[in-house]
């Protein structure tokens, strides 16, 4: 089963470092897991937590946020804002029942194609081990309609206005 499971990881990569790291990994022909779908954002600080939640809700098994190392941000402190959000987001996600490994923050500079590739490899294996998330299907489907009888009965009562 876990052999067939191909995790879908949405990657938010910053334009200045991590997206270039991914480029470099490609041009250097580094082999790494094909499971991460990169989305280029201008800065890791641009990643609204809504993006992460939406990705998880709509079928992602994991979300990778990658940015410049602290101190190297093109916008001075955008990545530090990302780190602050991430610290709180982790707490929130654990309350939602989402494992830490599913949402990760990594730093990869433009010259660290190998670091990004290794992070994607590692995360893919971790998420593969956790199994699919399938939020829509497995968490939101069904609603405790354990017994159909009451609903039908009430519907019947409602459908037939009867005499007193």
């Amino acid at each position: 089963m876990s052999e067939q499971f191909k995790p879908v990881i949405v990657g938010f990569l910053c334009n200045w470092c991590s997206y270039r790291a991914a480029d470099l990994a490609g041009t250097s022909r580094i082999k790494y897991a094909p499971n991460m779908r990169p989305i280029r954002v201008m800065c890791s600080g641009r990643v609204d937590p809504q993006f992460v939640l939406k990705a998880l809700k709509e079928g992602a098994d994991g979300v990778l946020i990658a940015g410049c190392h602290p101190g190297e941000c093109h916008y001075v402190e955008g990545n530090i804002k990302a780190l602050r959000r991430f610290s709180l987001l982790k707490r929130l996600l654990s309350q939602w029942g989402i494992e830490d490994e599913r949402v990760q923050l990594v730093w990869a500079s433009a010259s660290e194609g190998n670091v990004l590739a290794a992070a994607v490899d590692r995360m893919t294996e971790q998420v593969r081990a956790l199994g699919p998330l399938r939020w829509q299907e497995s968490v939101l489907s069904g609603n405790g309609h354990g017994h159909p009888a009451p609903i039908e009965t009430i519907a019947e009562v409602l459908a037939t206005p009867e005499e007193v």
Partner: protein
């Protein structure tokens, strides 16, 4: 008399505060009575479901539906009132976005029932009696509504025309909405576009809040009981998790005015889908830890320690908007299993 427009107000999973707030419009309630015929309003007048069932479809001109969809009876009433109403309004935070009842989406159906029927200091239930959906008696079968695993907002059960946020909506705002409705019904005045959030502002609570706001650099968070706030000064600035920055205005910042943090009952701002995520971002912007040039591991550690001082982030950021949030409920078991 027969030509008066028909008004209904119904409560599903609600506390009754919405009704109280509606009656709190004061002597204007007499104007409401003058203009409308009550068609269904269990809180203040004796109506039966049969009465509503007997109405032709679309008979009720305006139905103010408050309360979340907690069980199958709530859902059936939502369908019935949708059918019988021209305009269905999700009235108050429960109907709009789940509110307090939807906090049980943080746990399971069974855990909620256990708390109510077993694990509570004031409960004496040695035989572990739980309500049954079906009970056999001599005369036949008795049914109770199905208690849902996930609490839903009204618009997750039936289509909704307008939303009035607030827990409860402020009387002035209720009256302002009723005035628009009355004007439309009697004089053909314009109605807001379908799907609008009415009876509320478009900006954040902070815009209405008179407290003094300075540059924020928070070193520690406090729960309201842990600190006596300095009067006149922004509560968030003092480390109290006031969710005003991510909450829609319209209440006049009632709570912060008297030193109580905004809890977020007017829901997310215009254009925001997930109130909690936005509050998370707001908090991240005002903490006083982390700057370019610091050691990254040290910084992460200090940040984690600071964020640990926020008790129950999910319950704090999503106190009123759980059912309308992106994820809607917590996942119970790992590995994709559905819990409860």
């Amino acid at each position: 008399m027969a030509d008066k427009p028909k008004l209904a107000m119904y409560w599903a999973a609600a506390c009754g505060g919405c009704e109280i707030s509606t009656l709190n419009i004061g002597d204007k309630i007499l104007i409401v009575d003058e203009i409308f015929d009550l068609a269904f309003f269990p809180c203040i007048a004796d109506f039966k479901i049969k009465d509503v069932q007997g109405y032709p479809d679309g008979y009720i001109d305006v139905c103010l539906f408050n309360g979340a969809i907690r069980n199958s009876e709530n859902e059936e009433m939502a369908h019935l009132l949708r059918k019988k109403s021209k305009v269905l309004v999700a009235f108050g935070s429960c109907a709009y976005e789940g509110c307090i009842p939807a906090l049980s989406n943080l746990t399971t159906r069974q855990a909620t029932l256990n708390t109510v029927y077993l694990d509570n200091a004031s409960i004496d239930n040695p035989d572990k009696v739980f309500p049954l959906e079906v009970t056999q008696i001599a005369e036949g079968e008795l049914y109770l509504p199905t208690f849902f695993h996930t609490v839903k907002s009204l618009d997750q059960a039936v289509p909704v025309d307008y939303y009035i946020p607030g827990c409860p909506p402020e009387p002035e705002q209720i009256w302002a909405v009723l005035e628009v409705v009355v004007n439309a019904l009697l004089h053909g005045g314009p109605l807001p576009p379908a799907g609008s959030i009415v009876g509320a502002g478009r900006v954040a609570v902070c815009e209405e809040c008179p407290l003094e706001k300075n540059v924020k650099s928070i070193a520690q968070f406090y729960r309201p009981y842990e600190i006596v706030p300095e009067p006149g000064l922004c509560l968030l600035e003092q480390g109290i998790v006031c969710v005003g920055p991510s909450t829609r205005s319209g209440c006049g910042a009632l709570c912060p005015r008297v030193g109580m943090r905004c809890e977020g009952c007017y829901g997310p701002l215009e254009g925001v889908e997930d109130q909690g995520a936005k509050m998370l971002s707001a908090i991240a912007s005002v903490v006083g830890v982390g700057a370019a040039g610091e050691d990254e591991h040290e910084m992460a550690k200090r940040l984690d320690a600071l964020m640990d001082t926020i008790a129950d982030p999910a319950g704090t950021f999503y106190r009123f908007s759980m059912a309308h949030s992106l994820l809607k409920r917590v996942r119970v078991n790992g590995n994709g299993d559905k819990g409860g």
